[in-house]
């Protein structure tokens, strides 16, 4: 009896898990259109859809995203934002009448996993291009495979300058970490905040390291001293030792380069009663930081390349809908992910009836237009340089302090 009970419990838990998994990373398609590839656990409705025509085969795009693991919230961002974009494309008639189907795979934020899944996508002739991965590290692990297999790897969020440069099949639109690092040094921490002695905390990942690599020379050129500069692993939760150490170096400004633990660092700095001015960077900028830090994050400076202001109705509506669906506010990452799908689908549409992986690459490279997150035109390498706004958190809200042209003033 007890045995039976235990087994039933396990089975019930397993089923719950499977149901949960199946409902999360599902290919986005309107109910009723049954693609060649049935989604796992999908139920396949019967109602007809008005979008893309039924007799044309769907166009399948693979997505690498960290749906579980420590970066799961960014995986969720990918899933929600990209699904919204795919729905928009399909609602407007699809890609030349073909339905766009995104197939999400969970890379868990793990580089090996990402590379493996990329080669799985590349081996599947039905997949025309790959979006992702979220982090630079994972995207760069997948890049050599996509280069060899000659399929587009388009990461909307990777920011390492070496990613797109590594292959003609790799593209990125988040702006380069190298440029963001030096922008932060020269304008945000230097010109705007007027700091002299800076302490830098950075997450020792690809993103953090490449920002710091570029921040350091630019800061020194701007006449600042970096009195403390230390990295920590991305699973770190306790920063008290580092903070005490930084405090002993007596900086007049703190820069935090992080994506996942930013709120922890801020809370712990304020927790010991240290009210030094703090600056963070674009990828940290989210409503979540404000939710997680409350009063602790007042007056913090940040750069953003995208700002979902009420004056821009399209961007504002996007941010609202994203928040409704995801359960948390839209970060810049959400906009990048959304644009990624739109840009890619335009590149596919430009191929006409002859959709090949090579044609998609060539059309993607020609992209030149203005999207939700601003103008996008790829350089030779397949990356772009973004402009930044400087914002400050005031009364629990981001307020723009300097416009896009602050660098030229």
């Amino acid at each position: 009896m007890k045995k039976l009970f235990a087994m039933l419990t396990v089975i019930a838990l397993m089923l719950g898990l499977l149901a949960g998994c199946a409902s999360d990373p599902k290919p986005t398609k309107p109910a009723g259109t049954q693609g060649t590839q049935a989604p796992t656990g999908g139920s396949g409705g019967t109602a007809g859809s008005e979008g893309p025509s039924e007799d044309k085969a769907p166009i399948r795009v693979g997505v690498l995203a960290p749906l579980t693991g420590t970066m799961a919230e960014f995986g969720k961002t990918y899933e929600v934002a990209m699904s919204m974009a795919a729905e928009k494309v399909n609602a407007e008639g699809g890609i030349n009448g073909h339905e766009l189907v995104l197939e999400f795979e969970d890379s868990k934020g793990d580089q090996n996993q990402s590379a493996e899944l990329a080669s799985k996508f590349a081996d599947d002739d039905g997949i025309v291009a790959i979006l992702g991965d979220f982090s630079s590290g994972c995207a760069m692990a997948a890049a050599p495979i996509c280069d060899e297999e000659e399929i587009v790897l388009f990461s909307p969020t990777a920011s390492n300058a070496a990613f797109a440069a590594s292959s003609k099949w790799a593209f990125q639109i988040a702006g380069l970490a190298s440029y963001e690092g030096s922008y932060a040094a020269t304008y945000e921490v230097g010109k705007y905040a007027g700091a002299h002695d800076v302490a830098v905390f950075y997450m020792n990942t690809d993103f953090g390291a490449s920002i710091v690599e570029n921040f350091r020379p630019a800061a020194e050129e701007a006449g600042m001293n970096i009195v403390f500069c230390e990295g920590y692993s991305d699973t770190e939760t306790d920063f008290s030792a580092l903070i005490t150490k930084a405090q002993a170096a007596n900086p007049d400004h703190v820069l935090i380069v992080d994506q996942t633990s930013i709120s922890n660092v801020i809370n712990q700095i304020r927790g010991i009663g240290w009210d030094v001015p703090i600056t963070m960077l674009g990828p940290s900028t989210s409503q979540q930081v404000i939710d997680l830090c409350g009063e602790n994050c007042e007056d913090i400076l940040t750069t953003v390349s995208v700002y979902y202001s009420e004056e821009d109705p399209e961007a504002y509506a996007f941010a609202q809908e994203f928040a409704d669906r995801a359960g948390f506010g839209a970060t810049v990452m959400a906009g990048f992910a959304y644009d990624g799908v739109i840009i890619l689908s335009e590149a596919i549409a430009a191929c006409g009836d002859n959709i090949t992986r090579a044609a998609i690459r060539d059309n993607l490279a020609k992209t030149d237009g203005t999207y939700l997150t601003g103008p996008i035109k790829f350089s030779e390498d397949g990356d772009i340089i973004r402009s930044y706004l400087i914002c400050q958190i005031v009364d629990g809200k981001y307020v723009i302090r300097c416009g896009y042209d602050y660098a030229n003033e």
């Binding site: 998994c21 230390e230 009663g273 997680l292």
Partner: protein
């Protein structure tokens, strides 16, 4: 000097949380005789339970402790039923793998139920900094130390002064002999496991309060630290496990003081390896010794 003392206080505070996790861990291991890798997730669920209690009932630390203890107790029952009960006479690795699998299940279930993003646990304890001479300590650290010591004292009283506690220690020492003197081994093992898990839950709550966030994957690295602390203390000895936790916390923080935070885990584990090389039984007096 005051810098080193501040770092020591950081280390003691973090060590205290490790100690609490290790106490729970060693109670579980002692009483079931099997290693568990679900402890991190048990702690995480305890933290979530207190999160919701704080949300509904306001910042009442006492209620939070009860909620996290109770929630982890219930999870502990499930862990016991699924991972241990049928495997007492099976090779040890079977229940070990079972706990590994169960921990993944719990982690993913938590991501589905509570979402993948971090939840704020702000200002549960007022943010206040006290200066004792050159040394600064905040209220949060004081409260955490107090809770840890109070719980350790209660547990120690329970284990040494009550009938149930003595039965628990008897089961921990020798199951067959305990059975022969009329102790209901299965029930005691289950209760002991649940107590260990409950303490783990409170540790999870304290961690969430200390770091002001609560998220589904928070158990991962922490359970490794709990495991190493209790290995350092000789696996089943509650007091020595607590000492092991404190040592690891302090070593880590001093390590960061003199080098870099990148090597936090390296310091903890190198220390562990060194101690085990010299004393394979950890801090315990002799192999298999019990309090």
């Amino acid at each position: 000097m005051e810098y080193i003392i501040s770092q020591l206080i950081n280390g003691i505070c973090q060590g205290a949380i490790y100690a609490l996790m290790a106490i729970g861990y060693s109670v579980v291991v002692g009483v079931t005789g099997m290693v568990t890798f679900t402890h991190g997730e048990v702690m995480m669920l305890g933290a979530f339970a207190s999160y919701y209690v704080f949300l509904w009932a306001g910042n009442n630390l006492f209620l939070g402790i009860i909620a996290s203890f109770a929630a982890s107790w219930i999870v502990g029952m499930a862990v016991y039923k699924i991972c241990y009960e049928h495997f007492f006479n099976a090779p040890r690795h079977i229940s070990l793998i079972c706990t590994v699998g169960f921990s993944m299940l719990l982690k993913n279930l938590a991501q589905i139920l509570f979402g993948a993003n971090r939840l704020p646990m702000l200002n549960i304890i007022e943010n206040q900094v006290y200066s004792l001479g050159p040394v600064k300590i905040n209220l949060l650290q004081i409260v955490i130390l107090l809770v840890v010591f109070a719980l350790a004292a209660v547990l120690s009283l329970f284990l040494n002064r009550t009938r149930a506690g003595i039965a628990l220690r008897a089961v921990s020492q020798e199951k067959t002999a305990a059975y022969m003197v009329g102790i209901n081994v299965r029930r005691v093992a289950m209760t002991g496991n649940c107590i260990g898990c409950g303490i783990g839950g409170v540790a999870g709550m304290l961690m969430a309060i200390y770091y002001q966030t609560c998220y589904a994957t928070m158990g991962g690295t922490m359970s490794m630290k709990a495991f190493s602390s209790s290995v350092l203390g000789g696996m089943t000895d509650v007091r020595l496990s607590a000492l092991g936790g404190l040592c690891i916390g302090i070593i880590e923080n001093l390590g960061i003081t003199f080098s870099s935070a990148n090597f936090r885990d390296a310091f903890a584990f190198c220390f562990l390896i060194l101690v085990l090389l010299i004393r394979p039984q950890g801090f315990a007096v002799k192999k298999g010794a019990r309090p």
